[in-house]
């Protein structure tokens, strides 16, 4: 068994657009949950969320790139760039062939789905933009990461609801540890602050009115957030963290893997 090191990390989250912002907030015990900033807030009962503020897609991607990128892919790519830069790894070498890319996502390109289906069903549109499918498919984030970073090893998404990113990172860890690959790009992404998505979540009657208190006796529901987070893992590099166990089991009761 190989020893596995996390060689670089990146994150775009409601705390900010780098790992330093995230780490500082976690150390300070701050929450990123705040009032929902969406133009359709008056149609919702849910009033809070953890949105990524001030993420300007045009600062990260060209107009042509954006025609292919749902917001979940944008967040994933931006986080992956940070992680790869921090790792110092170059996947456009022999290493790329021996590198996996495994990303978790629960819903896929929800913003694209919501926007385009509304245009079709409600706004009288006669056709979809030609790149609607590659934007909305759940595999899009990992596809774009591999193209941009040059990895050519196993690449796939993991969809297991809120556990998606953890499962993806765990699988990447197992693949590096077993020697199936020499390195892995892994993490998770999600962005679903659309009217359709939020209404669907409301319908489940599980949304917290104030904040999220996971594992707390006084918990009263969940709060949606969005983020992209990536990490590069390889063996033989400087140790920053290690996981000795990874568990993929589920409870067997809930429709959502947890």
């Amino acid at each position: 068994m190989n020893r596995v090191a996390i060689t670089g990390m990146g994150v775009i989250s409601a705390f900010g657009q780098d790992t330093a912002s995230m780490c500082l907030a976690l150390k300070q015990g701050r929450s990123a949950i705040g009032p929902l900033a969406v133009p359709f807030a008056d149609q919702l009962n849910v009033k809070i969320g953890a949105q990524v503020p001030d993420f300007d897609p045009s600062a990260h991607f060209s107009e042509k790139q954006l025609s292919l990128l749902d917001r979940c892919s944008q967040l994933a790519l931006a986080a992956a760039r940070q992680a790869v830069a921090a790792s110092g790894l170059d996947f456009r070498s022999e290493l790329g062939v021996r590198t996996a890319a495994i990303i978790g996502c629960g819903g896929g390109g929800m913003v694209t789905i919501d926007e385009n289906f509304r245009r079709l069903y409600s706004d009288g549109a006669k056709r979809f933009p030609p790149l609607t499918i590659p934007k909305m498919m759940i595999s899009a984030p990992v596809s774009h990461i591999t193209m941009e970073q040059g990895t050519k090893g196993p690449a796939f998404m993991v969809a297991s609801a809120c556990a998606s990113a953890n499962h993806a990172i765990g699988l990447a860890f197992q693949m590096v540890r077993s020697g199936a690959v020499d390195a892995a790009l892994s993490g998770g992404t999600e962005s679903a602050f659309t009217l359709g998505s939020l209404k669907a979540w409301e319908a489940m009657r599980i949304m917290a009115p104030d904040t999220c208190r996971p594992f707390s006796l006084g918990r009263n529901g969940l709060v949606l957030g969005e983020s992209g987070a990536g990490q590069g893992a390889g063996r033989g590099y400087t140790w920053r963290d290690r996981r000795l166990r990874h568990d993929l089991r589920r409870d067997g009761h809930c429709p959502a893997v947890s």
């Binding site: 042509k64 025609s67 292919l68 006669k126 056709r127 933009p129 030609p130 790149l131």
Partner: protein
């Protein structure tokens, strides 16, 4: 140049981020860095502009740029479709 051809060239120039005046019938798509995805988006923009449905199947149009070599090829294809009564939808 017909109004339709002019409108098509407007869309091609916009997609290539070029001055309309720098584009002519013989401008090669490779020289203005348009690829097969751009062709799809150009066809979509034309469908939207003229409220028509153009029968174009990328699988039946092999090549890096959807089987088109020049901007004029794109315009000719679309004009032919429209002359043959491209479906209005």
């Amino acid at each position: 140049m017909s109004d339709i051809e002019s409108a098509i060239f407007d869309i091609v120039a916009q997609k290539a981020k070029l001055e309309r005046s720098s584009l002519n019938h013989d401008t090669e798509l490779s020289s203005i860095e348009l690829d097969s995805i751009d062709i799809l988006e150009i066809i979509f923009d034309i469908e939207e502009k003229f409220n028509i449905s153009i029968l174009y199947n990328a699988n039946q149009s092999p090549g890096e740029r959807g089987g088109f070599k020049t901007a004029g090829d794109v315009a000719d294809f679309i004009k032919t479709q429209m002359n043959e009564g491209a479906q209005t939808v």
